[in-house]
């Protein structure tokens, strides 16, 4: 049992499947609907004034909203806190020094002698200390207290600064990691786009090299040959090998024929007996088919035949072509991988002369397999009609 990712599977689905699945259903939101409709009308006005709808890459319109990165807001917070705490701490430090150096106020001596003064008020960042009388012992204690407060403030400033620095560094690291992840993601997307392009869309380039031009020219003739042979092998097999034919029998001079229909012992339809002496087994048919079509793309061709009691039967089935088909043009070399060259083919259809359907173009991939002798075989191919 295989594991699949639903999103991947849907992304790789054929457009026609998705279109069928969403037919008659809403796929746009109301907001999108109104926005796009308004844009269409605006562009229509521009076109009436001579400006192309898809205005080209040199023109710019609309408004792009600038969103400030959220991370800078968080990085700014510690910085602002640092400024506030620094302001308070600095103010306290200045106030403390002014008190200590003022000639009119008590001079706090670290000396041990007894000195008495009065009306002392000391303000620090953490509080106000007042004493009617201060002895040298009290002064020394107060000095110690002030020094301690200063140290606390200094430590707080250092802590906040360290936190701000750390936040800044973390943000830088995060940014770098995000950028690296984004670059890796973009590279992966580019690879994926390159891989999916081949199956999704034609890849016309303006500057086709001489080598590619020669390949395209050769591929054009091979594509016509592929259409003819595929149609023949699938639906007119009797053009390539002998099968059992019976006269129509309507009249004696009737030159028409009908295929002989064979059945097994139980009455189940087998097909038209293959009478060609070259064909002894289904493998012989596959060899014939694979002389033109590469085996890796034989697309179940073997199932068109059945072997019963030593005879080979062709499961006869014909169908009509697409009457809208006009022609096909090989437009582009999409890729060259190993021995395979893949091209884009534009298949043109037109129903104006039939039911009035306007002309349209469908793009398909067509590949050839280059043999060791330089000969081409038809690889990936889809009959356009």
């Amino acid at each position: 049992m295989k594991n699949y990712n639903l999103k991947d599977l849907l992304n790789k689905s054929e457009d026609v499947n998705i279109e069928r699945l969403t037919e008659g259903k809403r796929v746009m939101t109301d907001a999108e609907r109104e926005r796009i409709f308004a844009m269409s009308k605006k562009k229509l006005e521009n076109m009436k004034n001579g400006v192309s709808a898809d205005m080209g890459e040199d023109n710019v319109n609309g408004v792009e909203t600038y969103r400030r990165p959220v991370l800078t807001r968080f990085a700014g917070m510690p910085a602002a806190a640092l400024l506030v705490v620094g302001g308070i701490g600095g103010g306290a430090y200045v106030a403390h020094n002014m008190k200590r150096t003022s000639p009119d106020d008590a001079v706090v001596q670290p000396a041990t002698g007894v000195v008495t003064t009065s009306g002392v008020t000391v303000t620090t960042g953490t509080g106000t200390y007042t004493a009617d009388t201060v002895t040298t012992a009290n002064a020394a204690e107060m000095q110690s207290k002030l020094d301690s407060d200063e140290e606390k403030i200094r430590q707080q400033i250092e802590t906040v600064a360290a936190e701000a620095q750390k936040a800044y560094e973390e943000e830088q690291k995060r940014k770098e990691a995000e950028e690296a992840a984004k670059a890796a993601s973009e590279a992966a997307e580019a690879d994926e786009a390159a891989a999916s392009t081949a199956e999704a869309e034609p890849t016309t380039k303006n500057n086709v090299s001489a080598e590619d031009a020669a390949l395209i020219e050769k591929a054009q003739s091979y594509y016509g040959k592929a259409c003819e042979l595929y149609w023949g092998y699938r639906y007119n097999f009797s053009d390539y090998v002998e099968v059992s034919k019976l006269p129509l029998g309507f009249s004696e001079d009737d030159t028409g024929f009908r295929y002989e229909m064979a059945y097994d012992d139980n009455g189940n339809f087998l097909g038209v007996p293959v009478t060609d002496p070259r064909i002894k087994s289904i493998d012989d048919i596959m060899k014939l088919y694979e002389s033109t079509f590469d085996s890796r793309y034989n697309d179940g061709y073997r199932d068109y035949f059945v072997e019963y009691k030593g005879n080979i039967y062709w499961k006869y089935g014909q169908r009509g072509g697409n009457i809208f088909y006009v022609d096909s043009v090989v437009t582009d070399v999409v890729k060259k991988e190993g021995d395979e060259i893949t091209f884009t083919v534009a298949n043109n259809y037109d129903g104006t002369g039939l039911d009035g359907t306007a002309p349209w173009t469908e793009y398909n991939e067509f590949s050839v397999i280059v043999g060791s002798d330089g000969e081409w075989k038809i690889g990936k191919f889809k009959l356009p009609y």
Binding site: K2, N3, V27, E189, A193, A194, E337, D355, G356
Partner: protein
Amino acid sequence: MTGSEYSELFRRSEDEAYRALFDEYGDYVYTIVYSKLHNSGSREDIEECVSDVFAKIYFSYDTSAEYSGDMKGYIGTIAKRTAVDAFRRTSTYQNRISGDEDAMLGISSDNDIEKDSDAAEVQTILMREIEALGEPDSTIIIQKFYFDRNSNEIAEMLSMKAPAVRMRCKRAMSRLGEKLTQVGITL
């Protein structure tokens, strides 16, 4: 809507005709454009392209011609061509094809035909089973996993509540998973 219906509406009121055409085929065009551009362009690119398609149709459709057929084919063709042009603009040539042809010739093919064939079969089964979920579950699954919409957007689209969308999505995924497991596919 047929060409003659649009022409008649257009003669009565251009704005009404534009609106009616957009209402009828807007989702169809959006689906086509999204399928071409969602791997290479942003949602804004897709909206731009859809508006380009309708502007071109409004501008170029000959309302004097009495075309009795459905306009869907005409609109689909313009949508596909415009989307392909937009795709070319949004993804550079270099992004799509490696430039070193000599090196490319030396590299063996990574294509796995059997794997591709399996994937196509799986996709067919998947589409069938999603459709079998019925409405609104199939729309929820497609909108969530293909159009990449969140529950609020889907809820608005389906006139439901976002938690209800999430619940239905969960149950639909569970049912889908069971159905697919029966045929050997696990999500």
